[in-house]
Homo-oligomer: 207 residues x 4
Amino acid sequence: MGYSFLHRKERIVLTTIDVINEYGIKGISTREVAKRQGITEAAVFKHFPKKVDLLHAVLDFYAQYDSDISASSLQQKDYLQAIFYYVVTYAEYYENYPQITAITQSYDVLACEDDFREKIKKIYFGRLTALRDLAAKAQQAGLLSCELSAAQIAEIILGFFHAACLTWRFQKYAYSLKNYVASTLQVLLNSFITDRREERVRKWQEF
Amino acid sequence: MGYSFLHRKERIVLTTIDVINEYGIKGISTREVAKRQGITEAAVFKHFPKKVDLLHAVLDFYAQYDSDISASSLQQKDYLQAIFYYVVTYAEYYENYPQITAITQSYDVLACEDDFREKIKKIYFGRLTALRDLAAKAQQAGLLSCELSAAQIAEIILGFFHAACLTWRFQKYAYSLKNYVASTLQVLLNSFITDRREERVRKWQEF
Amino acid sequence: MGYSFLHRKERIVLTTIDVINEYGIKGISTREVAKRQGITEAAVFKHFPKKVDLLHAVLDFYAQYDSDISASSLQQKDYLQAIFYYVVTYAEYYENYPQITAITQSYDVLACEDDFREKIKKIYFGRLTALRDLAAKAQQAGLLSCELSAAQIAEIILGFFHAACLTWRFQKYAYSLKNYVASTLQVLLNSFITDRREERVRKWQEF
Amino acid sequence: MGYSFLHRKERIVLTTIDVINEYGIKGISTREVAKRQGITEAAVFKHFPKKVDLLHAVLDFYAQYDSDISASSLQQKDYLQAIFYYVVTYAEYYENYPQITAITQSYDVLACEDDFREKIKKIYFGRLTALRDLAAKAQQAGLLSCELSAAQIAEIILGFFHAACLTWRFQKYAYSLKNYVASTLQVLLNSFITDRREERVRKWQEF
DNA sequence: CATGAATGAGACTTCATTCAT
DNA sequence: GATGAATGAAGTCTCATTCAT
């Protein structure tokens, strides 16, 4: 994991995520990051004058595709498919970069620090809202039952995804996160479908 | 929050949870705990010779009712009601002691440390398994659809609950966690019910 | 200069003054202070949680006798004698503790830091004002000419005293500061006397 | 304060003085100087291979007119006027370049460093000696009383001037340093005049 | 039980300086 | 002349922990 093909600044960010993954948020030290990069701490500080800046870069990196994924979702066949796409895209990304799920599990801990609270909340509620909007549109299109509010549906789905990531982490990435999330989500969404007859004919498109 | 009616040792544990709630796991310091208790750091070490011991006490405290709640669930009217009872009991407990939800959000961070990994996993998988067992029995009783495995149902429900806690935290406990979780869970479980006709007649019992 | 008869906290202050005297304000480091005291830096920080606190303690120590000296001056035979007493008392004190003159020469440098600006100005203007008040009273009593304002007289006297200290420092305390200041001040004050005839009969009292 | 009309090397010196004025001697850092000049730290080192060199340049700049002013003084009408001219010339210069008074207040701090001690002492005693020589000649010419030695007179005058600068700095240059120094000095010198009758007829020439 | 004084390790950060380009 | 990337030393400060009293 030298990430040697990248620029130092980006390499430092990735290394930091590795450290978070291994030692947790409280385990990040400029010393450790520097050591893993084979440079001095002072060199790290040339790129990120304060440790806080480094953490912000990590969070920006973490959320860098959020709006893209949100936008792409809308180009799916229908809003049900969009929800599916939205979640499974993250699952696929995380499967290829398991370390980053450490961030997903650290929202609250990060939010304890003034410096990150707003950014974390923005990411969390941003994703929740994106899902909620998709759910709301699916409801308007008569695809999803209205017994649960769109916000509740979003929270159930995102909550499940986070739990799935945590279980996956605890089990050392021993199976395919994407497959697990995709297959669970299909049935879950089917349970929320308005007309149970549609359920039987629906074709879930992998991508 | 002086917790003055308790013994020092227990007070220290509660104070530590307060600190975790405010500053996060990495914010716990013997100094801060001592300061809040109005004693010296050295005094804290009389009760907990190592910081690790204190953290273990916090985790034991956090999970102290787990088996009781699990047991009580089985005394509910049916297994569907048992699942409902299981989750809402935690919601009610947390609503009365919001700080403790900080622990719920720190599983992964805690699990990064060798000292706590096993205990954390035991708590997490313990709760997941308890829920899964209830779900399995509900399926065997024909109350829950078998489209999702019991483990998946458990993960969806626990995931939702954790997400609900996180949102609640971010929104500064502005509403009733218990009510929100209870009402969402009713509809969610209804969606998983085998026979839709039963859904209409089911009476959810608050407690 | 172990100052071993004093309490640690006070010893640290005195050691800090020694360091300022040798290396200048910018040369004070907690490391150096700790080393000279034969303790660890952490121990220094137990007594002074921030370096700034240590510096404040140094300034408080520096100015600790200011109001006493000011008060004692007023008990002299007359206001001319009071001015004389005021300045020579400092000269005597400094002669016995030459290191402390390093502070006198660092007003401006210290005042560059937000943390000390107000305290430094208070000390400087406090002494200037004390002298001015004495001069004003001497003028009212007809002892000093009014050609110069009391403020100007104060600035001339204090300026001379500071310059005398600086010269004395540069010359490695090779002579008696007190004697030099006292004898110069006598003639200087005589020059400001209203009636030149009085000059010849005035008896300056050493103390 | 871009000083853009000057050569880089000189600009760096002036910028350094600005920094000293704002942050004090210990606040000078190659980083800060470079930043203010809009160049990199490395670029500063092209001009001044060591920080010490930069400081020497600052001191040379500070004292650059010393011999000129000393020489010009001798061309005044008489030695009393020469003393007056000597001091007021500095006052005028400083009034037009207030930042430079920061150096005047940092003699002792600078002298703590081996690298500058000799240069600082040379400047300080150079000015003191220049004044003393003028005073001695004024005494020889019967213009100044001999009650104070020439050296004492010099120290009183220079001390007053330094104090005047410090007060002026503390009061944010709110008034004319030159006027204040000039008017005070006139009366002060009058006090030292041999024959009080001359005092009344003396005409002080501003320039 | 509790305190006060101390410690060693390590955290973040700044600084002067170097060097290849 | 200038830059960008790096460095080693030092500085302030925090932390868990110890121990005599």
